[in-house]
Symmetry: C2
Subunit: 718 residues, 2 copies
């Protein structure tokens, strides 16, 4: 096996790494959550980073994704290995070119961080609505479920497309996988060359349009021959599944990582089965393992090659004892009477049974459901609820899981479960302010642990769409085994919780996430003696009940005194390593300092010294809080919205602001995306460390202040 | 019932008529075969034609269909009744806006002349690839199958969308329906007002964005609430099928024309069923009637409301005795393992049976097939072949019908049948040259017959994609019953055949279409005595064997002498009426003259007089040819390509030129759309009445001649 390097990176970087290494032309247009792939490729080419064949890929930014797709089509016709990255509406703009690229049997891979489509509202988050909207174009669709798979499938897709001459959409869940930090073993250049032999590249080149051997491509075809032309590609699509499996097998020989078109995990005599694709399959696999330990006859089938869909392989992969199947789609097609993967599975089963297939005693009862739209959490509790539903004689069909649908009553009820309770994974949560450095520090911590130790590490970052100045919650997991929990840290699960901003104390129920005996780190201007009295009644009770250890540091003071200004990230990171127990304290501090040198070294010794000072000062100013046996606070959390609020603001906007949007039932949501105005008046974000006061004596009436107030709290009157 | 006017028009005009009458804003961008809808709307608005409410609709041409869709979205948000027309890639460019228009529950109708998508080649012809590519957007899809249905469904769609708040794609087959001339009863304004009550229009207006009652529409929604928002529209989609049926029923009360979501036609105890949508359903209905007369237990189910798909209504519409079903899709989704309508039907059946439905003794064996891609003919013979296949124990699945697939062996064999042999339909074919006026004259003839008599009339025009200067074959049918033959006139079926260009004699096997005893009209410079010797051996044999009556006229001479120059259309049209027997000769001539006055009257009396002269001269110069009892010709048809042609040109290009492209098997077609160059050298179109000869003495070496030669037969050398 070829030697391979392990990195701790985001899914986007994993895809971009392979794409940049295996292509000559990269046409881009940025769209969340795929932008990082294009940005990194652009940066790498600017740095002169070369591809496998010693050339620097040409990165071309176009005016839109429609232009990017046209550029891809054109570059491919010159024989250049060409790729692009996109998401959501960006992919929609590529559709016309995609039909032509596929129709001309052109080898290319589009890497897609799959994202919702704007309908009743825009969302930048992840689901399969975009890739499902191109499933009819003739592109293959290959789904990867984790950062490692993104890395592996990016390469396999490139190999497959050159062999099979069918273009490939390689997709992974936007944010959940594109922005998750996890480990990825990077294939060596030798390995990549083995997967992409020169003969395939030369064959691709040979299909170029060239004046040396002119041909006509892109003719007009009339009713007499178009139909025949359209059927002439069938052998390529028929052969594709075996070609993909052959690439999977070749890859397995080279790396030890074996994949299958449809990958079953579960009891060999499973009676209940979940079929799905994308990151949710990781959570499903975890959940199945948990249920197997309770002797449940259950399993999960992961769909990797969604198009071309090989019904034969699909049926083969379903255990013979299966009696009930739930097919989960991460998309919604209003009016379709069933989502696409569900219909595909039902059709495959019906065809198999209808043509005399006798693997199953009878046709498995198959139902379909929607989950995880727009990065809605998909947790072990939900997966168990789906499997529990299958126990029923007549399981609900066309269900939803993960929401409360009090309108059409599609939703299944569920209870959260912890699938690895009592195991050896350490879970840590950090409440930071957007742009306060918390996320960067945590990414740094994950690298320290993931790349510097034998531990496996995972990081996921929940951004508020208000971005800068809003809460950002980091979810970090560390443990001795690979981490595939593709969902957030749940209630009572976190071993470490850090509150980087004192104001969050009155805003978020952070300690609901704390496991018994967890460590709580609080940035507070109050001393260890005084801070107890600053906590709400509920927090005090949680700390006592869950026997939490509480540490306090005045991070702003430490940062200011170390010359770091208001950058508290190094201070808080130091405290995390000092008290979380993930690494030995001395080892950890040494590694933080190494990381500081690596990150800031080129910015000058002064910055490095300030960081070192902050690290040392952090350790000196970190104090454990003595926990009384009784609560003494009467304070309660601030409501999210205050004053005389309209019903809608109370029930919807306010709940969203309070971080309880997940619990809003369907009937409360505006069905056509129409929202009332003026709701900003009810949200007091209370973020500022200092509040400005107008001094009439000093005011020169320049009129600039109204321009900088986004909430129109300052108005200009003439 | 409201009084209604009957017109003989194209499908496009039927849709445009309603659209222009029922909207305030019409955003357009031209694309074949939908362009006429936009052009007519534009012309009508320029003429000041008003909509139902007395306003002239604003027609806005944008830079592309993407812009048109954005304009529609924007105009709708102002509360304007808004529509657009498009096809193919044009519809693809509208996709991003379509998700938003549907997501915001906005009432609008897009009229789509459904067309192929460019893949291995571009095609301007009709199938359902474009509308199938938007089936996931949340738009409803309503299929109309004939010109009358286009008229009716355009109005019904407008009514439904205002009631149901779901936007509608109203589609009909490109060319086959968009360009077919047939009868349509035009709903009166009163009828339209009844279907579109002011209250609905006001409700639409009230949903406008207005500063008088400001709201926010088009928010960003995060993972906490997007999923719930997406499910909030379910009640609208659930209610839509019943709303559509209610509109159908209301329309039936007003007009007597009753439609259903899924419309069954056939034996009440049918055992074999075809399910499909679009113009092919007309041919299927004809064929079923034919087979019913032979006591076959067969039927056809026409899908009218494809999205939202009501499985309940679908199952209800399938007769209980059905044992085998063929679902026919007019689209291909490479790699999908089954086309969309097929998967929908299989899923509906499997769900019904799986949840205990007991209408059928057992689950009907269901297979899927593709037909009619890009206006490939779909004939009674093919329909019968599909039904015959269903007789087998294990009918072929994923089949094709209408082509010879010697590559993947998907195709069913078929024999052409005549479903109305011996009936009272008159079928006429006209071979004209693109832009020689044949089509216009024929459209005129259809109007004369369809609007001026009790006869029903249909016209369809097969254009070569070379357009001007290439052959255009007109297929006209007249008869006492409505004509629903959605396919060309077949072999041995035509009662009248006209050859408007002498050169076609040596190029096309026109008389293969002639029925026994048919009339053959030939434009020839030869006299009635001499023309026999000018025919090929085969033609002579056909004329004798089929007992044809042959008439000859030197139309170019008659036209020239009447001052019509080379415009022979009036001359040939006169001859048609004189000898076809469709109308009494005197009546017909009077009507042609009326039509001439109507058409050319405003261009001045001189033109009208010339036409009258041509009509009279035509009658004087039309001669019947005495048919000998024996053939005397040795000449044979010219091969389409001559000389030492490469294999590909002989087998593919040459066959296409010869008009035998339909018979080219799949394996002969380039699978990636790559064609050899230089093939124009082998096609001698032989169209010119005069051939230029270069006179060196006169040449001033201006160099202009190479520019005007599209075939580079004249080259410029410096």
């Amino acid at each position: 096996m070829a030697e391979q390097q392990k990195l701790t990176i985001e899914g986007n970087e994993a895809a971009a790494y392979i794409a940049h290494r295996c292509n000559e032309v990269i046409a881009i247009y940025p769209i969340t959550p795929s932008s990082a792939m294009g940005e990194m490729s652009d940066a790498w080419s600017n740095q002169g980073r070369k591809n496998l064949w010693g050339a620097v890929p040409e990165v071309i930014e176009m005016q839109s994704e429609a232009g990017a797709a046209g550029t891809v089509h054109g570059a491919l016709q010159t024989g250049a290995l060409t790729t692009t990255f996109t998401s959501s509406q960006g992919l929609l703009l590529m559709i016309p070119n995609m039909y032509k690229i596929a129709g001309e049997l052109t080898s290319t891979v589009f890497h897609v961080a799959a994202r919702s489509l704007a309908a009743q509202g825009l969302s930048i988050f992840g689901d399969h609505s975009d890739v499902m909207a191109v499933r009819q174009t003739g592109f293959a669709l290959l789904s990867s479920n984790s950062v490692q798979e993104v890395m592996d499938f990016a390469l396999i897709a490139q190999s497959v497309t050159l062999k099979a001459r069918i273009p490939v959409i390689h997709f992974f869940d936007g944010f959940r996988t594109s922005h998750e930090v996890n480990e990825a073993i990077i294939p060596s250049d030798d390995l990549m060359r083995t997967m992409l032999p020169d003969a395939l590249v030369r064959a691709h080149r040979k299909r170029a349009l060239t004046s040396d051997a002119p041909v006509l491509r892109g003719t007009s075809q009339n009713p007499d021959v178009y139909f025949q032309g359209r059927e002439s590609v069938n052998p390529y699509y028929d052969a594709m599944p075996d070609t993909v499996q052959a690439c999977f097998d070749q890859f397995a020989k080279l790396t030890g990582r074996q994949y299958h078109l449809f990958e079953y995990h579960g009891s060999p005599d499973a009676e209940r089965l979940i079929i799905l694709m994308g990151s949710g399959a990781e959570a499903a696999e975890e959940t199945i393992d948990h249920l197997l330990s309770q002797d449940e006859k259950v399993g999960v089938l992961k769909v990797r090659l969604y198009r071309p869909l090989s019904a034969t392989h699909l049926i083969k992969a379903i255990p013979a004892n299966v009696k009930k199947i739930a097919v989960l789609d991460r998309t919604k097609e209003p009016g379709a009477d069933g989502e696409p993967l569900y219909k595909d599975v039902v059709t495959a089963l019906a065809e198999y049974i209808g043509s005399g297939g006798d693997k199953f005693a009878s046709m498995p009862r198959t139902v379909g459901g929607r989950y995880g739209l727009s990065s809605k959490e998909f947790t072990p509790g939900m997966i168990k609820a789906v499997l529990d539903e299958l126990v029923k004689d007549a399981p609900k069909n066309h269900f939803t899981i993960g929401i409360h649908d009090d309108l059409s009553h599609t939703s299944l009820e569920w209870n959260e479960i912890s699938v690895d309770a009592g195991d050896n994974v350490t879970r840590c949560m950090f409440y930071g302010l957007g742009s306060d450095g918390t996320v960067s520090a945590n990414k740094n911590s994950i690298k320290i642990i993931g790349e510097g130790t034998d531990l496996h590490a995972q990081g996921y970052f929940v951004y508020d769409s208000k971005k800068a100045g809003a809460v950002t919650i980091s979810h970090l997991r560390f443990g001795p085994d690979p981490i595939r929990s593709s969902y957030l840290i749940g209630q009572n699960e976190a071993h470490f919780i850090a509150c980087h901003q004192p104001v969050f104390l009155e805003r978020y129920d952070m300690l609901a996430h704390a496991a018994d005996g967890a460590v709580f780190l609080l940035n507070s201007p109050h001393s260890a003696d005084a801070v107890w009295n600053d906590l709400t009644k509920k927090m005090q009770q949680q700390i006592i009940d869950k026997k939490l250890s509480v540490y306090v540091i005045d991070a702003y003071s430490v940062a200011t005194e170390s010359g770091m200004g208001r950058r508290i990230n190094t201070v808080m990171q130091t405290c995390f390593f000092a008290i979380s127990g993930v690494l030995k304290k001395d080892v950890a501090i040494a590694k933080i300092k190494q990381a500081v040198e690596k990150t800031y070294g080129r910015k000058g010794a002064k910055i490095v010294e300030r960081n070192f000072a902050a690290i040392d000062a952090a350790l000196a100013h970190l104090h454990k809080v003595e926990i009384p046996t009784e609560i003494n606070s009467a304070s309660i959390m601030q409501p999210a919205v205050v004053g005389d609020v309209p019903e809608f603001v109370r029930d919807v906007t306010g709940e969203i602001i309070a971080g309880r949007g997940d619990a809003i039932p369907v009937s409360f949501m505006p069905n056509d995306g129409t929202w009332p105005l003026g709701t900003a008046a009810f949200e007091k974000r209370n973020l500022a460390l200092e509040i400005p006061v107008w001094d009439e004596d000093l005011c020169i009436h320049c009129g600039k202040c109204p321009f900088v107030c986004p909430h129109a709290a300052i108005r200009s009157k003439v």
